[in-house]
Structure formats: C-alpha cells, structure tokens
Amino acid sequence: MILVATGTVSVTHYLIVGAIMFTAGVVCMAVKRNALGVLMGIELVLNGANINFVAFGSSYLAGEGRSPLGLDGEVMALFVILLAAAEAAVALAITLNFYNNHGTVDVDRADDLRAQSTKRNHGNRHAAAAVAGNCLAGPPRLLCGNSFFGQPDGAAWKVCG
C-alpha cells in the first residue's frame, strides 16, 4: 500500500516489476531440466524487457509529460513481441524434434556432443542425483544394472532390457 499512498505510479515501479520478471526468467532458464521450462524462462526474460520498453515509452508515466523514449518504446515492444513469436516457433520445432529422436525433453540428456570420457565420470555423479530424484517415478526394475557398477556404456541397458 506504500506505493498507492505515495501518489501516482512512476517509471521506477514498472522497472522493479520488469526486474523481478527478468530475474525469474533467468533463474527459470538456469534451473529447469525440461526444455520447455527453459523456453518459458526465455518468454519471461523477453517480457521483463518489454515492460521496461513500455515504461520508458509511455507518456503517462514520464515526469515532465515527455517520455524519454517517446514512441520508440512501444514500437520496440511490438517488435519484441513479434520476434518472440518467431523465436518460440523455431525453439519448439527444435524441442519437438529432439523429443522425437530421443524420446525425452530432459535437457540434461542432450549431451551427444560431449566427449565419451567426460560423459562417463560426469555420468556417475549425475546418475546418483538422477536416481535420487527419479527413483519414485521409474518402476523398481530399472535399478538393476544401471551405471553405478561402471559397466561400459549401453551394456547395462541390454542386461535389463
């Protein structure tokens, strides 16, 4: 209620909202394991930026009645919205392609380019975390013969297949 009591809203309030949206977006992109979660993070980041653009471009909020950006703010916001749509289309196409080929949208699984050696030791640490996180989801029989025992890659899978 502090803001309300202190008179009309100014550019700063919009900037704060934009900042919160931006940070939420960045965190979301960093933290989410689901590719679509990353996409949503990108949408949040773009929106945070959009709020700032519109805040600067709006003559309502500007102190002396002349907004710093003038009309450019809103036009820039329009272009951001348009390009976000285009970007989302391509990003989704890539994600669905990834899903079709690998059967999952888990971002951690997209490591085909990583060198084989790093993949194995990196794999163990990750496997531990993944098992801890997911052992509820997968049925128990999947625990047999996974990579804990350090079999070469792929062999484990044939055992319990």
Binding site: N100, H102, G103, T104, R109, D111, K119, G123, H126, A127, A130, V131, N134, C135, A137, G138, P139, L142, N146, S147, Q151, P152, D153, G154, A155, A156, W157, K158, G161
Partner: protein, 402 residues
Amino acid sequence: MSQVIEEDQRIIEFDVRTDEMLVNMGPQHPSTHGVLRLVLRTDGEIVSELEPHIGYLHRCAEKIGENLTARQWIPYTDRMDYLAAMNMNLGWSLAVEKLMQYEVSEKARHLRVLIAELGRIASHLVGMGAYGLDLGTFSPFLYAFREREKILDLFEEACGARLTYSYITVGGLTADLPPGWLQRCEAFLEQFEPIIREYHTLLTTNAIFVKRTAGIGVLSPEMAVDYGCTGPVLRGSGVDIDMRRDGESIYTAMYDGYAFEVAVMKDGHYPRDHEYPAVPVDAVLGDCWHRFFVRMLEVVQSMDLVRQAIDRYSRCKGPLGEPLKLAEKLPAGDAYLETECPKGQMGFYLVGDGSAIPWRVRARSSSFSNLAVAPELCRGCLIADVPAVVGSLDIVMGEIDR
C-alpha cells in the same frame, strides 16, 4: 527383429515413446450400432490398426433352437436383425419349408413379398438416419424415423407388433391383412415418393456429406467377394448379385413375375439414374457414398415391388391358408437357404432328425462378414472416418452376436 535403441547408460527412468495411442471406441460408444467395441491403434489422428471385439449381445439363439420346434424359434429370428425382423422370419420360414418341401399358397407368397419389401424400406430408413447421425447431422435421423413410424403402424395393424413381429411363420402367415390395410399402404407409398427426393437433397448431394463419404473406405469388388460381404455392401462395390433374382428357386419363385432391376452400378451408371442426383465426381465405386446410394435406390425399388405385390395380392381370391402346426414333424435331412435381407444375405441352416425339434440350427449373419472388412477399410484413415466407414457397412449387433 526390432533393433535396440542405442541408449545412454546414464538413463534411469524409462522413456516410453508413446506417439501411438491405443484408443477404445468402447462398447457403449454412441456411434457404433449397438454393442461393438473397436480397439484403434492411432498415431495422432491416423488409425494404423482397428480390431472389432464382438460378442456383447450373444444370447445363444442357435443352441436354444435345438430344443424348440421350428415355429417356436420364429421369435428368436425376430431378435437377430431387430431392424428388419420381417425378413428374418421369412428367411427361417423358407428354410424350414425347403427342408419339408412345403408349398405355401400363392396368396401367402404375394403377401410375404409385400411385407418383406416394406420391412426392407423400414430397415434402410434406419440405416440412412443412423448414418447421418454418425456424420454429425441430427435432422435426417428424425425425418427417417418419421417415415419408419408410418410403416410400423401398418405392421402393427397387420400383426400387432411394432418391432418383433413373428408375423411370417413356417407354412404361411399368422393372420391375413385387416380390411382397408391395402388402401392405407397405398396412401403411405403415395406420400413417401416425394420424401425420397428430400432425403437426397438432405444427405446424398450435401457437399459436406459427399466430402465425408466420397472416396472413403473403398472396398474393391475382389476384397468384397473374398470377405463374403453381401447385400448393399457388395452391390456398392459394383458386384451384380441379388438373391431375389439369383437365389434358390423356392426364394426366387416368390419374386417371379415381379419387374425390378438390381440396384448396382453397371458400366458406369445406375438403373433409372435419370431420376436421381448424379454420382459426385470424386466418388469411387465401392466407397461409403456408393453403399449409401445403393441403399437409397433399393428403397425406391422396394416401393415398386410393394405396389406390384399389392395388386397381385388383391387379385388372389380364397383364404390365406393356415400355417403348419406348432409341433410339425421335420423330415430327416438338412437344408440351407440364403435370402436377401436389407443388411445382406442372411442364411439359415437346420438339420431335422424326424422329430419336431431340429437337431441343429445355424444362422449365417450378413453383418458379421460385412464387419470383417472394416479393419481393412479403416487402415490408415482418420479417426473421424472410422464411424463413417463402420456406419456405411450398416451392421446390426443383434444379427452378428445372435
């Protein structure tokens, strides 16, 4: 053998790539006619495999037939194809009469033709209405049932029942027509003539109906014959077979002297096709549209037959003749006879052993073989086409499950 998908050994949770879905068009689905379960394997919208599961309506009619006399089994034939019970009764009665070499009076024969063809009109009306319902339009269903009600009123006057008549029985008919019935029947035919054109505008030539049915579920003549499809399904693929003309002598004897053409497309056009709308450009012979159109032509054909039967029946003098006794002795031996029912050729087979109770009774269902062709037709079509194809086969579960 299926090649193992190369998996990264760190994968713990098993990813099921379920792009194809197993979908149940379950027994209580509104569009399947009666209780039929279709298991569809779909990939998104495309149906890759269809498997009908039947047997939900099985009542062991044939086993019961082994401890009932021939006339006592007539009510069971009513409940096989409950939309065309008259034709079922006729089929069973003729089969028994063939076994016993019994000749019904000429008057009864003409009355049987009259009643059977009226039954065919009623059955096709339901087929047309239900098919409209499958494709999403509700109004034709009600128009069809309005006309069918009038036929049912006529049957009610003749035999007292509206759905399961048991009117045609072994050795003739249970009762003669009440006075004035023929005039009412003629009045019905008079007012029914223009309504047929209404159905054509409502469905047959409707652009969306044509789009939904033309070129869908094309059944080649060879496959139709291989699967043993009969009736409108067969004639829809251009195979010129009609039991009323090519059937056994005892059955065709009823129809000799009647002028009628078989409703099938011979070298490019239907009989008397100047009176009906032209075949749409993208309708392939043997698709849903043609099966529907053959049924509509058969309704008109049956109307002509009914008119001819009326004046032949009214010219016969003398009593109708009594049907055989309830426990008539059946001669030893067996007999099988197929009659042209609205859904297709319905065959009845019975084995007599000298006593009044047949030793074995068997009914060959036309819808059963018509349905058998559905998996072939629905492979690769869309989900919305499945009811269109199954509806065009016009199957009745009572007849399939018996």
